[in-house]
Symmetry: C2
Subunit: 700 residues, 2 copies
């Protein structure tokens, strides 16, 4: 774990130059990611690697033709070289270090706006670029490395890399990583308020997350911005590398292309390569979405969905839209389990050259399921694809309370081979996760290999984006219920003591509860001022109305368990609701009620590309003016550190304040994924096919 | 630690009845705190006690004369009795259990509104009450207790109490409890963003809090509402008991009086009683404010400032405004250190019957100081009072950056014996805390006693209430700097290994950072829509502008340290500021700048008691409509769990998810404050005067 301190500042001084903005004021709009100077090194300064982790190196030499810092009429010098060496040792050119041919130089240009004024004036800066990439390299020796890029006749960019120490021992055989997408600490607190009863200020039951054996938080900054999206944040959790917004397990180069960017291996890929680990991917999102994609996909553009789905099957060297990749990558032939939504991306359509991805999975021997019933019947010994909706799966609240909404989610219609049937028989996160666990356990037990699973509660985030707080919190409670059930199942299977379970979020939303709302009083008022008086703060926030059953004798309420069992509200429509809010909103109407209909968006599009609030969304509500640009149609992510809950072997490592990249690094440590030059013994212990070592080994 | 689980529900069933709302719908406006039925027991159901902790018992029998649940024409039956017994054992009347006379019965009435409609109609419910209080009792035997109140001819209220196990060993000699008032997790994250540099998404230095040896979070609910104020939340942290909004170390009875309510001992009082511990109280607030008051004061009304100050000197049995208390309480003759603001409450004025509290302290042998210079010169061997401002101390930002504002803070004017002089020589939290530590250490070393200190960073909260985010975060960074300096000083004094340091918050504000703001672009726009376009989200949030020095060569920026040293911003007025927001606001104008002038409030009062936003507050800003009632002149607290950072012996206890009351209970465990019947040996080990046992010992 890299843990910078004030004391280490001096030793990092030479490397720090690469981190600076070119000008003091224009730092928000950058020429390109992680490249404030005109010579760029990827992986950038401050990168840390698991020993033996596969990655690509790329250098770019940039020359702006105009703008605030033009260089040499926009002509970069063709003379440039990248040197690498162990700290304090002599450096050598990278091609020499890796004993390989120097790659071909690419030449292209791109444009960017230097700030909002330039953007408003459409006054772009043109940058010419020379670049080259060293593919599929590795550093085996733990320790510190220095890199130096010489370019443009005397300029230098320095970078400092760290290869992490090897684990002293393997602590866990298996790992399950749960991601509550967008799950801010405030949402965990609010979910507890809705799902559990208090007596005189003390909870009578609590969340499973509250019983976490290891507890910490992690910082979610992306590589070049302090607010992240789910692509780069999931990347950090799964590979140990910071990247740029929209990027999946790759650095965002300046080509603007979704393929060819410098990549790095995920811990799932490493576990497959080293141990033939069985891999499970579960999400309530459409499966090409950022978080499930981050298990194995490599692209700076998360929106390249077809490319992502091809990578699920074939890994990071697969062709993009017919363009072959001219490099090798870690061998990969598909996960053992892939369960979620997004069937529309798997059926033939123009954007995937009319190829049925379902057929591609079936041809590779996958079982597949499209309903909760058939999910349960899947053979635990075989690989499985589950596609349970056209896009995102319905939320917990729509599956359990407002079930009329299910009809608007498309289920598989076998006769048409599309996802257009009314949804009636759809699994939730718990169903999918427990079945995935059964398959992974059976398959890994069969050949003595470990397993790793990523399971994502995606609609915590998706609901929060449209300020549908109850649906977000319902899905958070479902995640908590799923974690509880997973720990129980691990116990039943006899593998709880050998399986690390980590639960974290990828980023937050600036959400909190600030009081209660008397929805009856609010509805009865006719002015904004009157409606605002329905908000009860401090003492008048009272107790959680979600735990007060309507029509139940008060003497029996404390023992009353709602229809969804303990850990969920007994009612979603109390008179006194929690008053929820966001630190930044679009314009909206708010009545603080749980809305029976899915709140797809609180905004109506206007013709000029901006949005205005729709009163239809909250007919009893009052108007709240927004803060975000009016081109936004939904809320945004926020800065706050997110929690890390952990159970089982190795949980001691997940305590206190961490960086997002530490999650992947610590999982690698617990799983003993690091390999040094003398790592053959460890490698030979793996079961299954292939050999995971020997490619691109550096001479330190 | 009480850790309720689903499994324990059955065993708590009989006790749970007391926790219910009388009606399912009217639960936000309650008849009285912790008393949903007509028979009330204080301490209420679910209370936990440190063995030997002193407290009062009170019962109330209530009979509404009108309203939705009238009883017997408003006449409570005079036949009622409270029984107590170890769980499963026979119960006996409390007077018999404690072998004392039954106290006199009080008779009075009160009114309340059952909901907002009743309030709007001014349609109050009248309640007649009979009550009695058993003062200054104790439970020595760890274990479970059951209580039963029989009243109104057959009705019963049950309560379940727990006396916590004794500590197996004393782990720390001394304790320092830091409270960052209102310090939400999001504010810790934001403070790091302002005060520390990142390189490619990774921090080069971090907060001292980030290095916490123990790490957890705590739930801040008050006794009868899920949003707390600082009085009841500080009470939980310092006594281990939940209480009601505005209440300090006492339960809010229905008398409506600031005195006479049922009290409970704080861990500071216990440490003084058992060990003659030296006690320090430090705050940047006015000293009669809730958090410093909670160390020793007992009143359900935090606003009874004069009563609070008298209790600093004489403890919880002191007369209120000339009304003597007819009960004994833990002996107390003043803290060893009392440093903060609020001098106006110490000078003679009508509200304190023209008594100089300063003179009262001086008569008791205290030194006193009113400036940073004289603070440094105080004799470390003597007790000390420090009053450094008329009200709250100036914030870190006003003391270090916008020093012109100091003139508006009143300093001691010796010639006039008031706090009206221009402030020039004023300490901050670090100055006060380190001097307090020196005094406590010297005094405790002298007679071999331990010490305990509470040190509060108050204006994190006070600034956040008026949406002055930079001042809030500046004071949070000052707290972090103070914790770092305190740990260093403990090391220098050779007592780091014997001193537990806990840093937590009492509650949160619904704050977060959701992007950046280009303040130049924002100021240049003339429409709200244009100004909102200055907000940069995700990738466009960029890097922290507060770490980019203006006018410094980019090559040297990474090593540049601002005038306030490492851990603070290098500039408070960058072009690209963080875009801050709150989940709930009053109406406001916002320009996302650091305001040179103190933002006393963002609202102008209107004649009808409501408020409107003042454009003068953010002349470049745009209007954001609020959510809170328009009678609010400032922001409010929020729900999110807050962090618990800990260092030193016993830090292992402060891991994972806790309740606010656990903080006091765990400190008591680390300090071995619990005493059972056979506790004489432990008691006899204490140094100093008096004997702390034998009063009110119960027969279990």
């Amino acid at each position: 774990m890299v843990k910078p301190t004030l004391g280490s500042r001096a030793s990092l001084a030479v490397a720090a130059v690469a981190a600076l903005a070119t000008t003091a004021s224009a730092q928000t709009f950058r020429r390109s990611a992680a490249c404030p100077s005109l010579g760029c090194i990827y992986p950038p300064d401050q990168s840390s690697f698991i020993a033996g982790q596969v990655f690509d190196i790329r250098v770019e030499i940039q020359a702006p033709a105009n703008g605030s810092t033009p260089y040499n009429n926009g002509v970069p010098s063709s003379e440039f070289a990248l040197y690498i060496g162990g700290k304090g040792a002599d450096m050598q050119e990278v091609s020499s270090f890796y004993d390989r041919e120097d790659p071909q130089v690419e030449s292209y240009n791109f444009t960017y706006y230097e700030d909002l004024f330039q953007k408003a004036n459409d006054s772009a800066t043109l940058v010419n670029v020379l670049a080259k990439s060293y593919r599929h390299v590795t550093l085996f020796n733990p320790g510190e490395y220095e890199l130096k890029l010489q370019y443009n006749g005397g300029s230098e960019t320095l970078a400092h890399w760290t290869v992490l120490p090897l684990a002293e021992a393997r602590q866990a055989k298996n790992v399950i990583l749960f991601i509550g997408d967008g799950m801010a600490p405030s949402m965990v607190t609010a979910a507890r308020l809705l799902g559990h009863k208090t007596v005189n200020g003390k909870y009578k039951s609590r969340l499973q997350l509250d019983e976490s054996e290891g507890f910490g938080m992690q910082m979610t900054h992306s590589l070049d911005s302090y607010i992240t999206d789910s692509a780069n944040s999931a990347t950090a959790l799964m590979s140990g590398h910071k990247s740029t917004v929209n990027a999946l397990n790759s650095f965002t180069d300046s080509t603007g292309k979704p393929y060819g960017a410098p990549k790095f291996e995920t811990i799932f890929e490493m576990a497959r390569r080293l141990y033939d680990a069985k891999i499970g991917i579960v999400s309530t999102a459409f499966l090409a979405d950022a978080t499930p994609a981050a298990v194995v996909a490599h692209t700076p553009q998360r929106g390249a969905y077809d490319y992502v789905i091809d990578q699920f099957l074939d890994g990071g060297a697969v062709a993009f839209n017919g363009t072959p990749q001219n490099f090798s990558w870690t061998q990969w032939d598909g996960p053992d389990v892939l369960f979620g939504g997004g069937g529309k991306d798997f059926v033939p359509k123009a954007s995937n050259k009319n190829v049925s991805k379902i057929d591609r999975f079936l041809e590779r021997g996958y079982q597949w399921s499209t309903t909760n019933s058939t999910l349960a019947e899947l053979d635990n010994s075989k690989r499985a694809l589950g596609l349970f909706s056209d896009s995102n799966l319905p939320t917990w609240l729509d599956r359990h309370v407002y079930t009329d909404n299910l009809a608007s989610f498309g289920a598989w219609a076998p006769e048409n081979k599309t996802f257009t049937a009314p949804t009636t028989d759809v699994p939730g996160l718990k169903d999918m996760t427990l079945k995935a666990l059964d398959i992974l356990h059976t398959r890994s037990k069969h050949d003595g290999t470990p397993f790793m699973m990523m399971s994502e509660a995606a609609s915590i985030d998706k609901s929060m984006h449209v300020a549908d707080y109850p649906r977000a919190l319902g899905d958070l409670l479902e995640l908590d219920d799923t974690v509880r059930a997973t720990l129980d199942r691990l116990e039943e299977l006899g593998i709880r003591e050998e399986t690390l379970v980590v639960v974290t979020a990828d980023h937050a939303h600036g959400f909190d509860v600030f009081g209660s709302a008397d929805t009856e009083y609010l509805a009865a008022q006719t002015t904004i001022e009157g409606k605002r008086d329905a908000i009860g703060t401090y003492l008048e926030s009272g107790l959680s109305g979600y735990q007060v059953p309507q029509g139940v004798n008060p003497q029996n309420q404390s023992e009353f368990v709602g229809p969804q069992g303990p850990g969920f509200p007994v009612t979603w429509e109390p008179r006194y609701t929690a008053a929820f809010g966001l630190a930044a909103t679009v314009d909206q109407y708010e009545d603080f009620k749980t809305h029976p209909s899915v709140r797809a968006t609180s905004l109506e599009p206007l013709k000029n590309g901006t949005y205005r609030a729709s009163h239809d969304d909250s007919p009893d509500g009052f108007f709240i003016s927004g803060v975000l640009p009016t081109s936004n149609d939904q809320g945004v992510h926020s800065l706050v550190d997110v929690q890390v809950f952990s159970f089982g072997p190795g949980h001691e490592l997940f305590r206190g304040m961490m960086d997002s990249t530490n999650i992947a690094q610590k999982i690698a440590q617990v799983m003993d994924l690091g390999r040094d030059k003398k790592g053959d013994l460890a490698v030979s212990q793996r079961k299954g096919k292939g050999k995971g070592k020997g490619e691109g080994e550096g001479k330190k």
